[in-house]
């Protein structure tokens, strides 16, 4: 019951431990495809291999993203990066049969799914896997993505968290509806601005009660949403000082939400480039970076913001003096930089590159490599550094994006994990069979029956 007290306390108490998750990205430049060791991004064997390696390393969770529309570049699908990935829950259901303990986290959006359908599918994954499912909640709103769906683009950017919260609360009621594994189920009604739900749920609670909830938004609204609803934040703040700051901020928000200081865990996105010595690790990093952002990718990256073809420019030369085409860059088609003020940005970047003496390729590498999210060094030095995160409780763990598939976790599992275990900051076995147990999360309590009738959002 110490777990319970810890979660309810208003004072944050570090566990002294960290855990790992693995994020199989399946898109973008982080995963190297040009090396001889680069495996298939779609064959089941790649997924099996990496999930089983993660499980050998006692990883808490295996994450998959969600694709809703292919990223585009100057009006056509982007050609230079890894692309083409499976449906998250279908792949995770398959992985459930070849793994035993690792959590299975599906990124799923609240905009182009229906709550009753998504909640049922997540409950299915949770039951089939013996209580190992989780949902990484994301919101999206752009009409460009909506072009693949019946609804089209319908949601205002400003409404997306209000909509998402009503969605998540409805899902929780669906997972909460069966009194026992034999039923009966409570009918769930919801009437909101964008959808109505009237369903008698088909599935009981799982071994972990309901899927664990992850959330990845970082705006103040997103953080408040997580503080109210999520179990774990998949954060964007892995650097030590930022992580400490983010923890402080999140603790305040979760206490304000009435959930206690320890209720929401934090696992930042990260990348590890490791070797036996610091020198080797740095060499490896050069190699990794050169393959992540090749000459064509460097030019293409600038083209997204310039809105025009720049193939005549030397990737090893300075940034283009030519100005961006402002209109065409107002929306960069899935790259995540909406409404950037292109000309102003170009001026700023030219000055920055000149100041630091960076070529196009060096500049783009510095912009895309998520320098803060990368841990580079010897196994022992990185283990020492991570032990500091564990001691202070800056984070609860790291969600690692391997730069190589399917062998990208091998050195982490073979060398880093034992170093962390020696330092007493990493699990030496799975605590239980469910994700909730392995993360050390509290089990939710079933809500009392509510008077029937629609609940308004």
């Amino acid at each position: 019951m110490t777990q319970h007290n810890r979660a309810k306390s208003d004072v944050f108490q570090p566990t002294g431990q960290i855990q790992f998750g693995i994020f199989f990205q399946g898109v973008n430049s982080g995963t190297i495809w040009k090396a001889a060791e680069s495996g298939s991004q779609t064959d089941f064997e790649s997924f099996r291999r990496i999930a089983q390696t993660a499980e050998r390393g006692l990883f808490a969770a295996f994450f998959l993203g969600e694709g809703l529309r292919l990223r585009e570049h100057l009006g056509r699908p982007h050609a230079l990066d890894v692309v083409g990935r499976p449906d998250a829950q279908t792949m995770l259901a398959a992985l459930a049969s070849v793994t035993k303990n690792i959590g299975l986290v599906a990124t799923q959006n609240t905009t182009y799914n229906d709550p009753a359908d998504l909640a049922h599918r997540l409950a299915s994954l949770d039951l089939i896997s013996g209580g190992r499912a989780a949902w990484n909640i994301v919101t999206t709103d752009n009409a460009w993505t909506g072009a693949n769906f019946r609804r089209g683009g319908y949601l205002d950017h400003a409404d997306r968290y209000r909509h998402a919260e009503a969605f998540v609360e409805t899902a929780k009621r669906i997972w909460d509806s069966w009194e026992s594994p034999a039923g009966p189920a409570r009918r769930v009604l919801h009437e909101g601005q964008h959808y109505t739900v009237d369903v008698t749920p088909r599935l009981p609670r799982s071994a972990q009660y309901r899927p664990v909830l992850f959330q990845a938004g970082d705006s103040p609204e997103g953080r408040n949403f997580a503080a109210r609803q999520a179990d774990v934040i998949f954060s964007a703040h892995p650097k030590f000082d930022d992580a400490v700051e983010f923890r402080k901020d999140l603790v305040e928000r979760s206490v304000a939400a009435g959930r206690g200081a320890n209720a929401v865990q934090i696992m930042p996105a990260s990348e590890f480039i490791l070797a036996a010595t610091a020198e080797e690790a740095l060499e490896k990093k050069e190699w990794v970076r050169s393959l992540q952002i090749g000459p064509q990718q460097a030019i293409a990256y600038l083209e997204q913001f310039w809105g025009r073809e720049l193939s005549g420019y030397d990737p090893d030369g300075p940034l283009p003096e030519i100005d961006p085409v402002v209109e065409e860059t107002s929306e960069t088609r899935g790259s995540g930089f909406h409404g950037a003020k292109a000309r102003q940005l170009a001026d700023q970047w030219r000055a920055e590159a000149k100041d630091k003496g960076l070529s196009i390729r060096q500049f783009v590498t510095s912009k895309t490599a998520r320098i803060d999210a990368t841990f580079t060094g010897s196994y022992t030095a990185v283990a020492d550094h991570l032990a500091e995160y564990a001691r202070t409780g800056a984070v609860d763990g790291f969600n690692i994006s391997p730069w190589l598939v399917p062998t990208g976790l091998d050195d982490i599992v073979n060398h880093l994990v034992p170093e962390l275990q020696e330092r007493g900051v990493y699990p030496t076995e799975y605590r239980g069979s469910t994700l909730r147990e392995n993360l050390g999360l509290e089990t939710p309590v079933r809500t009392a029956d509510q008077p029937s009738g629609a609940v308004r959002a």
Binding site: L80, P86, T90, S97, Y112, D114, N148, Y195, R202, Q296
Partner: protein, 356 residues
């Protein structure tokens, strides 16, 4: 793949057997046990119903779970076309094909239960509109499955291109004129490369024929109220769909088992489907004649535990001995089982100058 049959040759003499695995529950271990039992009994395909019944987990996920633990049996979930997002459905089915090594199929259904509409806040779709929704969703999936040509992932280090964008295509689907429901469009391309089989076999219940054109399907599931009426119904559907669509008869089965007569065993068959009750020997004879007129038969056992055991011990071995069953395909695809060629993407010819 070496066992590939042409639809006309061996297919006309020998059929395949599918089994509905409803009743395996929601637990992974139970699902594995059932599908492995079906595979070792010699069934060619396992199907997974998805009608909304308490305790029934999502069919496609049950099929996906079964993918890595099986080696030869085709895995064919029902997925609704009316209250689902066609883009998601297409991606999920393509993913099932990857996790099963090309053994996936799709029973495209059109949900009729009023509860299905209320669950997603839509008004009930009925009548001919059901078939229109099915036809539209099937067309979306088929276009999206073709939207990446087979060799779209090129990994060309010299030019820095992971994919050849000329081999990716927009689906640009729009619901047709006369579509009675809320029209929609799907842009594409798919977010997953082309399925291993190119196109997954699509099966539909005969009730949707007409609105769903025969050239959109690979197989049709035929029901009749009694075993006696089944053969006539099969011939009728065959005449409507032509030789290129496989005809699969639907049969409920309850067998004498462990000293208990079929007649005395409690059955809860879902009305409207022919039911066979009796001995294994009588079922074997009945199936032999039914398989002569069909491409395959799907069995719905009254009890997975009891009837699957009897079928595997007594019925399938005897049918196989009589030459009524096609060989089980080792390393084959579901298309191979149905005698279907792997089709080229519909967009290949659209590419300029390929000369194909």
């Amino acid at each position: 793949m070496s066992n590939t049959n042409t639809p006309s040759a061996e297919a006309s003499q020998a059929g395949f057997l599918a089994i509905e695995l409803d009743g395996a529950g929601w637990d992974g271990a139970d699902i594995s046990r059932a599908v492995l039992a079906a595979e070792s009994a010699g069934f060619h395909a396992a199907t997974f119903t998805d009608t909304p019944v308490p305790g029934r987990a999502n069919a496609l996920q049950r099929a996906a779970f079964a993918g890595p633990v099986t080696g030869s049996i085709a895995l064919v979930p029902e997925v609704d076309t009316v209250y689902t997002e066609p883009f998601h459905v297409s991606t999920q089915l393509a993913s099932l094909d990857y996790v099963s090594g090309g053994r996936a199929g799709w029973i495209a259904t059109a949900a009729e239960a009023p509860g299905a509409a209320a669950a997603v806040g839509r008004s009930s779709v009925t009548g001919a509109a059901l078939g229109q929704e099915a036809a539209a969703s099937i067309e979306v999936s088929r276009r999206l499955w073709d939207s990446w040509e087979d060799d779209a992932v090129i990994r060309d280090v010299a030019t820095g291109r992971y994919i050849d964008v000329d081999k990716l295509h927009y689906a640009d689907f729009e619901t047709p004129d006369g579509f009675t429901g809320a029209g929609y469009s799907v842009k594409g391309p798919s977010i997953i490369p082309r399925p291993l089989q190119g196109q997954l076999p699509v099966l539909v219940p005969a009730s949707l024929l007409g609105e769903v054109p025969a050239d959109a399907l690979d197989a049709v599931l035929v029901s009749a109220p009694t075993p006696e009426l089944l053969a006539a119904e099969v011939l009728d559907v065959r005449s409507r769909v032509g030789a290129s669509v496989a005809v699969i008869a639907e049969l409920d089965v309850v067998l004498d088992s462990r000293g208990q007569a079929a007649a005395s065993r409690e059955t809860a068959f879902d009305g409207g489907r022919a039911a066979f009750a009796g001995t294994a020997a009588a079922l074997t004879d009945f199936l032999e004649s039914l398989l002569a007129d069909t491409d395959g038969v799907r069995l719905h056992p009254a009890s997975l535990a009891l009837d699957l055991d009897e079928l595997g011990r007594l019925v399938l071995p005897e049918l196989r001995r009589r030459g009524a069953l096609r060989p089980v395909l080792q390393d084959g695809t579901f298309r191979d089982l149905l005698g279907l060629e792997r089709p080229a993407s519909r967009y290949v010819s659209a590419a300029a100058g390929t000369g194909k």
